[in-house]
C-alpha cells in the first residue's frame, strides 16, 4: 500500500471521528442559532396564534435596545463586578492551594468543587436565607452600623452580585489553580537570584505565567454571569433584573418572540465582541 493511500485513509478516519460532534453542533447549535436570528427579524405585530411573517424588521433591534437598555447595561455591570470580585477571592485561594497547601491540596480542591454536588437553584435559595432580613449577616451588619436600621441585603444589587460571585467562583478558581500549579518554582528562584524581591517576582514571573488561567477564569465567570437570571430572580427585585430575566419574561410570559430573539442576539453579539477584544489584548500582555 502506498503512503498516499494510508494518508488518505487516516484523513478520512479523522473526518469520521469529527462527524458525531459536527452533527450535534449543526442540529443543536447552528440550526437554533439561525432560527433565533431569523425570529429576531420577524414582524413584531405577529403572535403565536396568528403566526409570524418574516419581514426583515431590523427595527426589532432598535426597539429592544431602547426599551431594555437598563437591564442590558446592568447585566454587563453586575457580571463585570462579580468577575472582578471572584478574581480577587480566587487568586489568593488558587495560589495557596497550588503553592502552600502541601498535603491538604486535594482536600481543598474537593472543597472548591463540592458546591456542584447540589443544584444551582438550591444554592441560590440558600443565599436567600443567608441574606434574609432577619438573617445573621444582615443583623450583624446592622449592629456594626454598616447597614442602617431597617436596611436590607436581600432584594438589592449587593445580593445579586454576591450570588453571582458565589455561584461562579469555582469556574475562576480551577483554571487559575491549573495554571499556577504548572509554574516551575525554579523560575521564581531564578528571578530572586536576579535581584527581584518577592513582589517583583510575582509581578514579572508568577502573574504573567498564570495569565492563561486568569483569562480562562474570567471568561468562564463573565459569560455565564452576564446571561444569568436565577440570581436576580431569587435574590433581587425587578429593579435588579438582568437581561436574562427580560428574555425569560419575553419568551415565556409575554410570548413576544421577535423581541426576545433580538435581545438574545444582541447579548450574544456583545459578549462575542467583548471576549474577542479581551483575548486579543491578553495575548499581547497589555493587561499585565
Amino acid at each position: 500500500m502506498s503512503a498516499a493511500d494510508t494518508g488518505r485513509r487516516t484523513s478520512r478516519t479523522g473526518y469520521l471521528l469529527l462527524l458525531p460532534g459536527l452533527l450535534w453542533l449543526v442540529v443543536f447549535f447552528l440550526v437554533p442559532t439561525i432560527q433565533l436570528a431569523a425570529t429576531s427579524l420577524y414582524d413584531p405585530s405577529g403572535s403565536l396564534d396568528s403566526g409570524y411573517a418574516m419581514t426583515w424588521s431590523f427595527s426589532n433591534y432598535w426597539d429592544a435596545l431602547s426599551t431594555f437598555r437598563a437591564p442590558f447595561l446592568r447585566s454587563l455591570l453586575y457580571a463585570a463586578v462579580a468577575t472582578v470580585l471572584a478574581l480577587v477571592l480566587a487568586y489568593p485561594l488558587a495560589y495557596a492551594i497550588a503553592f502552600k497547601a502541601g498535603r491538604w491540596k486535594n482536600l481543598m480542591l474537593v472543597l472548591v468543587i463540592a458546591p456542584f454536588f447540589t443544584s444551582f437553584l438550591v444554592r441560590t435559595l440558600a443565599w436567600k436565607s443567608i441574606l434574609s432580613d432577619n438573617g445573621f449577616v444582615a443583623t450583624t451588619l446592622q449592629v456594626l452600623h454598616i447597614l442602617g436600621p431597617g436596611g436590607r441585603l436581600l432584594a438589592t444589587s449587593v445580593a445579586v452580585v454576591t450570588g453571582l460571585t458565589y455561584n461562579f467562583l469555582p469556574f475562576m478558581v480551577l483554571p487559575l489553580y491549573a495554571s499556577l500549579e504548572k509554574i516551575d518554582l525554579r523560575l521564581i528562584e531564578a528571578s530572586s537570584d536576579l535581584y527581584a524581591d518577592a513582589l517583583t517576582s510575582f509581578r514579572k514571573v508568577t502573574l504573567p505565567l498564570s495569565m492563561p488561567g486568569l483569562v480562562a477564569g474570567t471568561l468562564l465567570t463573565f459569560i455565564p454571569a452576564a446571561g444569568d437570571y436565577i440570581n436576580a430572580e431569587l435574590l433581587g427585585t425587578p429593579r435588579q433584573y438582568m437581561i436574562g430575566n427580560v428574555i425569560d419574561n419575553l419568551f415565556l410570559v409575554q410570548l413576544d418572540y421577535p423581541a426576545a430573539a433580538a435581545c438574545s442576539v444582541v447579548l450574544m453579539a456583545a459578549i462575542v465582541v467583548m471576549v474577542l477584544v479581551y483575548v486579543r489584548r491578553a495575548g499581547t500582555e497589555e493587561l499585565v
Binding site: 528562584e189 531564578a190 530572586s192 537570584d193 536576579l194 535581584y195
Partner: protein, 395 residues
C-alpha cells in the same frame, strides 16, 4: 566595586568567597557537614563529587536559596549568610537553565539589569549576546532554542550582572559530549575574559580537570581534598580522590623503613619506594597506589630474580587476564599472585611490546609516581565502575 575599598587588605583578599563551618541539615540528614572553604577572587573553582554529595546544596546556600543550619558565608569579608538572594552579589546558572518562558531572549538577559534600574540595557544585552555568540537571537523565545543555545542564554543572563561570584550548577549536564567539550572551552574563555570568580559544580572529573584552577573534591557533605588538578591527580589524599579523579591501583603494603626522601614499603613480598611527600601515612599498613598509565609491562620470563633498578618499583608474577584496545592506548588487566587485578594503560606508540591474555608479565614504574594512603580507607571508595559492578551483583 565599592566593597573592595572596605577590605582590610586591598587587592589581596579581594572578593574572596569564604565558607566557615557551614552545615546544612534536612531533618536528621546532614547534606553539608561543617564545610570550610576559601575561593580566591578570579578563580575558576570546581566543586566535584558524586551525585547526592551536597554540591547543589552548597551552591544554593551561597546563592541564598537555602539557609545554612550553621556557619557563615562571606564575600569580600562581608557576611552574606542571612541576606535574601536578591541582595547578594552572586548570580547562578541553573542546572535546568530556568529561563523565563514568557520572555524573549533579550528580556531574559535584561532581567537582572532592569530590576536594578541599570541604564543602557539594550547596549549591554547586545554585547553580552555577542559574547555568547547569540547575536541575532534576541527576539526568540527560550523554547525556540537548542539546548546548547539555552545554556548560553542562562550564562549570559547571569554574567551580564557582573556578580562578584558566578555559580554554575552542572550547566553542561544536559549537553551531548561534543557540545559539552565545545562549551567547556567557551566557558573557560569567557571566564578568562571577564575575570569573575566562577564556582562550577560538576560530577564529571574530566570537566573539572580541564577547566578549573582549583578543584575541591566533595563526598558525603565534606571536602576530601582541595588543590590544583595536578596536585589532586598526582598526590591524592584519600582513596576516594584516587579513584574518583582518574583511576588508581591500590596495593596493600606494610611500611618497613625510610631511605632518604622515600618511604619504603613491602607489598606482598616486593619492596616498593614512594616519595615521603606523597605519603599520607608513614607507618603501619598502607595502600601503595600508582596510576595505570604510569605502569609499564615487561615480559615476566625472568621472574622474581631480577632486582629493581634504583628509582624503580617492580611487581612480579602477574598474568594478563584481559586486553582491551582503546585506540591511543591498550588497557590490560593483570592478575597478581595474591589474586588482585591491577590495571595498566600502555600507549600504542609502537615502542612497547604487546601482550595477550595468559602472558606472564611484570609491572614496573618510577618510584616517584607512587603514593601511600591510609589503609583504613575503603580501596574502592569513589570507584564508580566498582560501585556499578557490586550494585549489579546485589540486584
Amino acid at each position: 566595586m565599592p566593597d573592595l575599598d572596605r577590605d582590610p587588605v586591598p587587592g589581596h583578599a579581594g572578593a574572596d568567597l569564604t565558607l566557615t563551618s557551614v552545615t546544612k541539615r534536612f531533618g536528621s540528614f546532614t547534606a553539608v557537614d561543617d564545610l570550610d572553604l576559601v575561593v580566591e577572587q578570579g578563580r575558576f573553582f570546581a566543586l566535584l563529587g558524586p551525585s547526592g554529595c551536597g554540591k547543589t546544596t552548597t551552591l544554593r546556600m551561597v546563592a541564598g536559596l537555602e539557609e545554612p543550619t550553621r556557619g557563615t558565608i562571606t564575600i569580600a569579608g562581608k557576611d552574606i549568610s542571612r541576606l535574601k538572594p536578591y541582595k547578594r552579589p552572586v548570580n547562578t546558572v541553573f542546572q535546568s537553565y530556568a529561563l523565563f518562558p514568557h520572555l524573549d531572549i533579550f528580556e531574559n538577559v535584561a532581567f537582572g539589569l532592569r530590576r536594578r534600574g541599570v541604564k543602557d540595557v539594550a547596549g549591554q544585552v547586545g554585547r553580552m549576546l555577542e559574547l555568547v555568540e547569540l547575536g541575532g537571537f534576541g527576539k526568540r523565545r527560550p523554547g525556540q532554542l537548542s539546548g546548547g543555545q539555552q545554556q548560553r542564554v542562562a550564562l549570559a543572563r547571569a554574567l551580564i550582572n557582573r556578580p562578584q561570584v558566578l555559580l554554575l550548577d552542572e550547566p553542561l549536564g544536559a549537553l551531548d559530549l561534543k557540545l559539552r567539550r565545545q562549551m567547556q572551552i567557551e566557558l573557560k574563555r569567557i571566564q578568562t575574559e571577564v575575570g569573575i570568580t566562577f564556582v562550577h559544580v560538576t560530577h564529571d572529573q574530566e570537566e573539572a580537570m580541564t577547566m578549573a584552577d582549583t578543584i575541591a573534591v566533595m563526598n558525603h557533605g565534606v571536602i576530601e581534598q582541595l588543590g590544583s588538578p595536578g596536585e589532586l591527580y598526582d598526590s591524592p589524599a584519600t582513596t576516594f580522590v584516587s579513584n574518583f579523579l582518574g583511576q588508581s591501583n591500590l596495593v596493600k603494603a606494610e611500611v618497613v623503613g625510610r631511605d632518604a626522601q622515600d618511604v619504603l614499603v613491602d607489598a606482598h613480598g616486593s619492596r616498593l619506594a614512594a616519595p615521603a611527600v606523597r605519603a599520607r601515612r608513614t607507618s603501619g599498613t598502607v595502600w601503595a597506589g600508582v596510576r595505570p598509565e604510569k605502569v609499564h609491562l615487561t615480559g615476566g620470563a625472568g621472574g622474581d630474580g631480577s632486582a629493581p633498578g634504583p628509582g624503580a618499583n617492580h611487581l612480579t608474577g602477574g598474568t594478563v587476564s584481559d586486553v582491551s584496545f582503546i585506540g591511543v592506548s591498550t588497557q590490560y588487566l593483570v592478575r597478581m599472585p595474591w589474586g588482585q587485578e591491577l590495571t595498566v594503560f600502555e600507549q600504542n606508540s609502537g615502542a612497547r611490546d604487546s601482550f595477550r591474555v595468559g602472558d606472564r608479565v611484570d609491572l614496573r614504574w618510577t618510584s616517584e609516581h607512587t603514593f601511600l594512603l591510609d589503609a583504613d580507607q575503603d580501596a574502592h571508595a569513589g570507584d564508580e565502575s566498582y560501585a556499578a559492578l557490586t550494585e549489579g551483583a546485589a540486584t
